[in-house]
């Protein structure tokens, strides 16, 4: 749950909250906008984002339902003083636990999901409390940990005793405990940076990141970047590189595209090879299309099939599996598919069966990114599985070498948009797979999305890679 969602009063600086701590590792600009921005400028939630939030709430409610003896403070919205007072009263009374307790510091506000009583003296008596938070992810993340460490520090001050540990309850409902003290230095840095943003929001500027696609402030930041022809629109750029280049007088995409590499290398001490690559990417950005490169010739990846999965990461469920032989694109590619397999075991078996049935032994299996081989390995280490790892070939890596791309490439969507000029989301966003599965016509939607993706992959392969591979194979023969 987020804390401190309502803004400060006029003339007041907003409090630093656990949500800010959670958000900062992903994007400092977002924290500044959350603190000072006009919320009316945020884009509306998408259907799939609503679903994610609803699932998170359900997960939390399910977990909390098992904590019947726990107390929850009741107070008027934003009356944090009252909430904090009630929370303190619960803690002094030694209740087994507090849900959504309010912790207040000088300039800090924390609303941890869980405050649980433990034995051991504190200012409250012969007991003290530890902090936990309920998260709907399947694996713990650093931002979640930093958030509970933030709460733990506030709680330590309140109860005059450091909690022995912090904990996260993840999607499986299992509790994971962490030693929070080693993370204090990391938290201190994060809080310091948030303090700067709180006082001086202008100290941060937008930077085009993978996270921007899912951020509700994207319609504020992205036009700003485009208007400024910001260097973060260049593939391969980092915030540090941008600062270094700007300090050397190269502040726009166009300026970088025209820069003299040797001179720039002398001024910045950056590696000339890196500057050449960035300049080429800037040239592609100016041209608005990929500029073909001449990669090294690999051993022939021919013949081959393209394999693709759609998944629901929250449910850890495979939604759609598709395979098509390379070269069968255009019009109606012959796609063999499985929609909404009953279980993950069934999905894995279907995948192995499809590969065995559709793809002759020895053919390469082209896939996009790490998702498929990681999924395969996760299953393969638990059971006897065919030896397919040898045949996997990552199209993402090969596409990276095939061209300089006219903008940052975070995944298949950008390769499709830049490489084929198509709307990669025409059959829905990849992140919407879980939402599609909840609809009456879910199977049809997933089939359409999976087929669209597979068609894109076949087309990208045909345009950028297949001809080269065929030539190598023929030469080898």
């Amino acid at each position: 749950m987020s804390d401190g969602s309502s803004g400060p009063g006029p003339g007041q600086l907003p409090a630093i909250t656990g949500t800010h701590v959670y958000t900062l590792p992903g994007c400092a600009r977002r924290v500044a906008l959350d603190m000072h921005g006009d919320r009316a400028l945020r884009r509306d939630l998408r259907a799939e984002e609503e679903l994610v939030l609803a699932r998170g709430r359900e997960h939390e409610e399910r977990f909390v339902a098992g904590l019947a003896a726990w107390c929850e403070p009741r107070y008027d919205r934003a009356d944090w003083e009252r909430g904090a007072q009630q929370t303190r009263e619960f803690l002094v009374a030694g209740v087994p636990g507090v849900l959504q307790g309010v912790l207040l510091g000088d300039d800090r506000l924390g609303i941890p999901d869980l405050l649980r009583r433990e034995a051991g003296a504190s200012v409250f008596g012969e007991h003290h409390y530890v902090v936990g938070d309920v998260k709907s992810s399947s694996r713990p993340r650093s931002d979640q940990l930093l958030q509970v460490v933030f709460y733990a520090e506030m709680l330590a001050e309140l109860q005059q005793r450091e909690p022995d540990y912090v904990y996260l309850v993840l999607k499986d409902g299992e509790e994971r405990r962490y030693d929070w003290k080693p993370l204090r230095a990391a938290l201190a840095e994060v809080v310091e940076r948030i303090g700067e943003l709180r006082a001086e929001p202008a100290t941060t500027r937008p930077f085009l990141l993978r996270n921007c696609e899912g951020c509700r402030w994207s319609e504020v930041c992205l036009p700003e970047l485009r208007e400024a022809r910001d260097l973060s629109l260049v593939n391969g750029m980092t915030a540090g590189l941008r600062s270094t280049l700007e300090a050397a007088g190269v502040a726009t995409v166009e300026a970088l595209a025209k820069a003299v590499v040797e001179r720039l290398a002398r001024r910045t001490h950056l590696e000339p090879a890196m500057l050449r690559r960035l300049r080429r990417a800037a040239e592609a950005a100016v041209a608005g299309q990929p500029l073909r490169e001449r990669p090294g010739r690999t051993a022939a990846i021919h013949p081959a099939a393209v394999v693709h999965l759609l998944t629901d990461p929250f449910a850890e469920r495979t939604l759609w599996i598709g395979i098509a032989r390379r070269g069968e694109r255009g019009g109606e590619p012959r796609i063999e598919e499985v929609v909404l397999p009953e279980s993950e075991d069934a999905a894995f078996e279907s995948f192995c069966d499809l590969v065995t049935r559709v793809v002759p032994a020895g053919w390469s299996l082209l896939h996009y990114g790490r998702a498929l081989p990681d999924w395969f390995e996760r299953h393969a280490v638990r059971r006897r599985a065919p030896w397919l790892e040898e045949r996997f070939v990552d199209l993402a890596r090969r596409l990276r070498g095939a061209a300089s791309w006219p903008g940052p490439v975070f995944g298949l969507a950008e390769h499709v948009a830049f490489g084929l000029g198509r709307d990669p989301h025409r059959a829905g966003r990849t992140a919407a797979g879980a939402w599609m599965a909840t609809q009456d016509d879910g199977a049809a939607r997933l089939r359409a999305k999976g087929r669209a993706d597979l068609d894109d992959l076949l087309e990208l392969d045909a345009v950028f890679l297949a001809a080269e591979d065929r030539a190598v194979a023929e030469a080898a023969e």
Binding site: L24, P25, R139, P140, R141, S142, D143, L145, L146, P182, L183, A185, A186, A188, E189, V190, T238, A239, G240, L241, S243, T244, A247, T268, H269, L270, E271, P272, A273, M274, R276, R277, R280, E293, R294, P295, G296, R297, T298, A299, I301, R370, D374, E377, R378, A380, V381, R382, R383, R384, W387, E389, E390, F392, D394, R397, R398, R400, G401, A402
Partner: protein, 585 residues
């Protein structure tokens, strides 16, 4: 440690076999994927050199190139391919030789294991040099199968083995090791090793006399007529123990199997028999040493009383099994807080990527050598707190030691011996694997240590996580007029097992955004431990503030980063950005 209760779950043996296959496949795939990148990208990955202009070809097929930009990770002896960077099939398989950074001259040599004619290369023409992969894991698969066919070995790795010991032999070992003047924790560990009837583990943090103890163990066992197999992951570690043992005992028969390594002459002078070539048999007594690949080639009929492993914290489980098959008693000496095994692929099954030492330590614990004769009080305090839960202490004679110091220099604040571990900050935002800013400071520090404070070049090591930074530092040293073969400038991996009076560690990267994606490598606390603990009296960390600013997404990396952040906060800091720095964030 996971002990699966699922009867359908694959066995550890099956998982290890899969691990080996995945490693092999990944090596090939990485090679293919690298080749699918443009030359520029391969250069940035450190796997390629472009625009190498051929200057001359000598009679022994050594090709000398002029190279203006060498960002590669290549080392002398690495397998490479020489060609146009496009047609790999037509490229010449060869070996990377000496690179003179000052002159920009690179030697490329013929690979003696590759047959075929030498292609004609034109002088004055530009060529591209790429990495070439070699597959060596086939034999290890057989080793794993044989290992798990042995119920004792299978039991040991399942964590269900009950360690057996010969009490009388243990008691005699205590007497002899005490008489040899060893410290209490060494005696305890050594006696456990000699007395074992199955397994003993000794954890040897930096400078705790691990090699001395190993040599004593081997001397006593050799003197009692035992035949011992000695294994370590690197030739350097194998040679190190053999030479230490020879210094201790001039008579015990010593042999090394296979490649004699770079210390061949030294080994021969020390009377170590090199056993190489088909049909060559190792001696029937004494110590027979080799890397796991060499030990794996010994016929099954070769039996030993003990197998002793050094640097077992770097030894993958299959490699350990290769040595374990030769004997029934196994002694593992290592430290899982120093460098781990080299694993190339990402594995969801993290148990199979752990070292043999770490896995067995998790089940059976180990004997800790708790006193360091290397580090003074200040260096030891930092290392002990960060990496050994405060359980490591300096010996009395080491604690008060300080580096020589003549005040009045420009870098006195950094070099002050009363600050045994210090952070010299040079803020910059370099995103790659090289920082000229840090390299210049490293060079000036070395120059001042040599010229003002009178240190011998052999008493200084400058280390970095990346070879590109190592080269940048070497160039900066040459520019500063410091050119000594005795001065060690290398990656951290290459200095494990060594010690110096002063160690300078340059982190090289200043852009936190690029560190988020390579945090597992960069923020390895094992590597940090190795780097800081090489120093006897002074460790200098040269870094940009940005190097500590990363916030990686996975908690394991966050904890590792937190160690670096804690270090940056607790160390005395000298900010030299105004003199050496680049752009600040």
């Amino acid at each position: 440690m996971r002990r699966s209760d699922d009867p359908d779950a694959p066995s550890l043996e099956a998982r290890l076999l899969r691990f080996l296959e995945r490693e092999e496949v990944d090596e090939r795939r990485s090679s293919d994927e690298l080749r699918a990148l443009s030359v520029e990208d391969r250069v940035l990955e450190g796997e390629c050199i472009q625009d190498a202009v051929l200057e001359q070809v000598s009679a022994d097929d050594v090709h000398v190139f002029r190279v203006t930009e060498n960002l590669s990770k290549f080392r002398n002896g690495d397998a490479v391919a020489l060609g146009d960077g496009i047609e790999f099939d037509a490229a010449w398989p060869c070996v990377y030789g000496e690179f003179d950074a000052r002159e920009g001259r690179l030697r490329i040599e013929r690979d003696r294991f590759v047959r075929g004619d030498l292609p004609a290369f034109e002088t004055g023409r530009r060529y591209v040099i790429d990495r070439r992969s070699l597959g060596l894991r086939g034999r290890l698969r057989e080793v794993v199968r044989s290992g798990f066919a042995d119920p004792r070995i299978a039991e040991v790795f399942a964590g269900t083995h009950a360690i057996e010991s010969d009490a009388a032999r243990h008691a005699r070992a205590v007497e002899k090791l005490t008489a040899a003047g060893l410290h209490a924790s060494q005696v305890e560990a050594g006696a456990a090793a000699i007395g074992t009837e199955s397994l003993a583990l000794v954890q040897g943090p930096p400078g705790t006399g691990k090699t001395r103890l190993l040599a004593e163990i081997l001397r006593l066992l050799g003197g009692a007529g035992c035949r011992i197999a000695l294994g370590a992951f690197t030739h350097r570690a194998v040679d190190n123990v053999l030479l230490a043992l020879r210094r201790l005992d001039p008579d015990v028969p010593l042999a090394k199997i296979g490649n004699p390594g770079s210390e061949a002459a030294l080994l021969r002078r020390a009377g170590v028999r090199i056993v190489a070539g088909r049909g060559a048999r190792p001696p029937a007594t004494g110590v027979v040493a080799g890397t796991p690949y060499a030990l794996a080639r010994l016929p099954a009929s070769e039996r030993f009383h003990y197998t002793v492993f050094d640097e077992a914290g770097q030894l993958p489980i299959p490699h350990a099994i290769a040595g374990m098959l030769l004997a029934k008693r196994w002694v593992f000496v290592g430290d899982h807080r120093q460098l781990p095994p080299v694993v190339t692929a990402e594995h969801a099954d993290t148990e199979v990527t752990a070292s043999a030492f770490e896995r067995l330590h998790g089940f059976y614990g180990s004997h800790l050598l708790d006193t360091t004769w290397r580090m003074n009080d200040g260096v030891c305090a930092v290392v002990a707190e960060l990496f050994y839960d405060g359980r490591l202490h300096p010996a009395e004679e080491a604690a008060a030691r300080r580096m020589p110091f003549v005040p009045g220099g420009t870098l006195d604040e950094v070099l002050d011996p009363e600050r045994p571990v210090v952070l010299a900050r040079v803020d910059h935002l370099q995103p790659g694997k090289r920082s000229v800013e840090e390299a210049r400071l490293c060079a000036d520090l070395v120059a001042e240590l040599l010229r003002r404070h009178g240190l011998d070049p052999a008493e200084i090591a400058v280390v970095a996580p990346f070879r590109a930074q190592v080269r940048a530092i070497r160039s900066a040293l040459q520019e500063a007029g410091v050119d000594s073969e005795d001065l060690v400038v290398d990656t951290v991996e290459r200095v494990q097992g060594q010690e110096r009076e002063v160690v300078i560690l340059s982190l090289a990267v200043g852009d936190p955004a690029t560190l988020d994606s390579r945090s597992k490598f960069f923020f390895s606390t094992n590597r940090l431990n190795v780097a800081l603990s090489r120093a006897r009296t002074k460790s200098i960390l040269v870094a940009s503030r940005g190097a500590f600013g990363a916030l990686p997404a996975d908690p394991e990396s966050l904890y590792a980063v937190a160690v670096f952040k804690q270090l940056a906060r607790q160390l005395p800091t000298v900010d030299l950005t105004a003199v050496y720095g680049g752009v600040r964030g």
